[in-house]
């Protein structure tokens, strides 16, 4: 809910503006992940697989329910040369008091000590049209290295990641476009955790 109370200010132009009194959360206390769009390469096997009709994308983030980190819709499989657009953005709360677990999780990733070696893993999933007959099938993975954000100090804006197939992680089958606004949070977390280590 939109916490904080509202009060009214007026200006000389007869406009009444209810103003939120609470200050918005500092950028170092949240991050925003956006699944922007995806495309498959024309020659990729997924393109000719007639069982794959629509796809969605998901990722996992510590304790955030999967229902909040998967695109709410599946979109028609892109045609050759076509991009499909989710524009699915999610803000993840990284409050230093309430979300220590998430901050620790990110620190572990920054150190590459997590199962995905410091990468946020996105999974492209085929969503069957007939849910009774078929099951969802993972058709590709894309990996976003978190360390690059800390190193550059810059958020990631619409970066294209290779999608690789589960069977052959060496051959890209398409591109997943993502954005990640996390530079301020990752910097704060890294600073706070390394200070802890040596204090």
């Amino acid at each position: 809910a939109s916490e904080g109370s509202e009060a009214q200010t007026t200006d000389s132009d007869d406009i009444v503006t209810p103003v939120f009194q609470n200050s918005p959360k500092a950028v170092s206390e949240k991050m925003c992940i956006e699944i922007v769009s995806l495309a498959f390469y024309p020659e990729a096997e997924v393109m000719s697989d007639e069982n794959i009709k629509q796809v969605y994308v998901e990722y996992r983030f510590y304790d955030v329910p999967l229902s909040e980190t998967e695109t709410p819709v599946s979109l028609r499989k892109p045609r050759p040369g076509e991009e499909i657009h989710f524009h699915f953005s999610k803000v993840i709360d990284l409050d230093p008091l309430e979300q220590q677990g998430r901050r620790q999780f990110l620190f572990t990733m920054l150190n590459g000590q997590d199962p995905e070696k410091g990468c946020l893993k996105f999974t492209v999933v085929s969503d069957p049209m007939d849910e009774e007959k078929n099951e969802c099938e993972e058709v590709g993975y894309a990996y976003l290295e978190l360390w690059q954000i800390l190193e550059s100090g810059r958020d990631i804006l619409e970066q294209e990641l290779d999608i690789v197939s589960p069977e052959d992680q060496a051959t890209p089958i398409g591109r997943l476009k993502v954005s990640l606004q996390a530079a301020a949070a990752l910097h704060a977390i890294y600073k706070e955790m390394t200070e802890d280590l040596f204090s």
Partner: protein, 380 residues
């Protein structure tokens, strides 16, 4: 003066969504102390409101002087255009970087970007204050204004349509010129009841038969015409595949919505969901009925560059298309594209009266349902 906290008065409020420049682009609202909006319009990054007391308020980006305030600084609060106070402003239309307005006396004024002559002042010099378009006289009783990327249109009560500005794609219906700096009449020999200028295409409706005509940029099906007719895209052509009587048309960046007596049709580009035709149709040149809202009576439609809004006869509102920046009015900080018309639950206890969609924002004017004044609240 209300003293209950944030409670919308019975006279209603203007709700802002997306990159409006108002309230730091957080979904917000404001209202007038003793006045109410009668006309809303959104350009690419600016907005205009005309009130019942015939005052004009402007806010948003101002790089081209499109707010008409005598400067080029962005304005983050609705600001009254005092220079127009002696005249009663009736209509306003925001283009991508310009604004046109009309008054009760029949005057039409323009301000802002003018690279294609879209101000109708006989030249291509931009202005940062409203300038009178001398073409129009008290004989032209203006009924509607519309503005596209670099185009302007004025429709009179007797069904005469005048357009000016960019014609590089034939979007003002002239065959051979690239642009015109003064209004010229667009006619197919029948009086016209409705005009809409999209980013690079345009459409109008005829009074008697409710026929739809489209012209301008022909890519991605946004003219709703079969491919053999696209060579003539520079002149208005009848969209014959819509069987019932057309009431309104709204042109966006690459898409077109049509309100008829029976249904709502959509065609053009829908890669972000702006057609509202679901997750399998991202482009169509054939007008398709929005099945999802078949049970609802839609009374008004508006298209932004990549999104769409529709008001129902019971005061509800549906939005769909590009969800970035929260312009669909469907949340506070988590957004997604919507491929089906989605009811804005924020307005459950309101009667939506007006809506306008722009490049990355949306304005809604809504009044509380009797005895149900509520705070604007979003789920976290």
């Amino acid at each position: 003066m209300e003293d209950r906290k944030g409670l919308v008065p019975d006279s209603g409020a203007v709700f802002t969504f997306g990159k409006t420049k108002f309230a730091e682009n957080i979904p917000s609202k404001f209202w007038f102390k003793s006045d109410t909006p009668i006309c809303l319009s959104c350009g690419d990054e600016h907005s205009a409101i005309v009130t019942g007391n015939n005052k004009l308020y402007m806010f948003g980006s101002n790089n081209w002087g499109q707010l008409g305030l005598g400067s080029k600084a962005a304005v983050n609060k609705p600001t009254c255009i005092k220079a127009l106070k002696p005249e009663k402003v009736k209509f306003a239309a925001c283009g991508r970087t310009h604004t046109i307005i009309s008054t009760e006396g029949g005057n039409v004024y323009a301000t802002g970007g003018n690279n294609e002559g879209q101000l109708g002042l006989g030249d291509t010099d931009e202005r940062d204050t409203f300038h009178l378009i001398s073409f129009f006289t008290s004989q032209h009783k203006i009924k509607q204004l519309s503005a596209g990327s670099n185009t302007s249109a004025a429709l009179t009560e007797d069904g005469q349509l005048f357009m000016w500005g960019d014609n590089s794609e034939g979007q003002i219906g002239l065959k051979d010129v690239t642009n015109v700096c003064v209004p010229h009449q667009v006619t197919i020999g029948k009086p016209i009841s409705w005009i809409s200028c999209g980013y690079y295409h345009s459409a109008f409706v005829t009074i008697v038969d409710g026929e739809l005509y489209t012209f301008g940029e022909s890519e991605s099906g946004k003219l709703g015409l079969p491919s053999q007719l696209l060579t003539n895209h520079r002149i208005p052509q009848l969209v014959s595949s819509i069987p019932d009587k057309v009431i309104q048309v709204a042109c966006g960046g690459g898409h077109t919505l049509v309100l008829t007596e029976e249904s709502v049709y959509a065609f053009g580009l829908g890669q972000f969901g702006q057609l509202g035709l679901g997750t399998f149709i991202f482009e169509t040149s054939e007008p398709k009925v929005l099945e999802y809202v078949k049970g609802e009576k839609i009374i008004s439609i508006s298209c932004g560059e990549n999104h769409t809004a529709m008001i129902t006869d019971t005061g509800g509102i549906y939005t769909f298309g590009d969800g970035r920046h929260g312009k669909l009015g469907l949340g506070l900080e988590n957004f997604t594209n919507r491929f089906f018309p989605t009811p804005c639950s924020v307005f459950l206890k309101f009667m939506v009266q007006l809506v306008a969609c722009g490049g990355c924002h949306m304005l809604v004017f809504a009044t509380p349902q009797a005895g149900m004044a509520e705070e604007l609240e979003f789920e976290a």
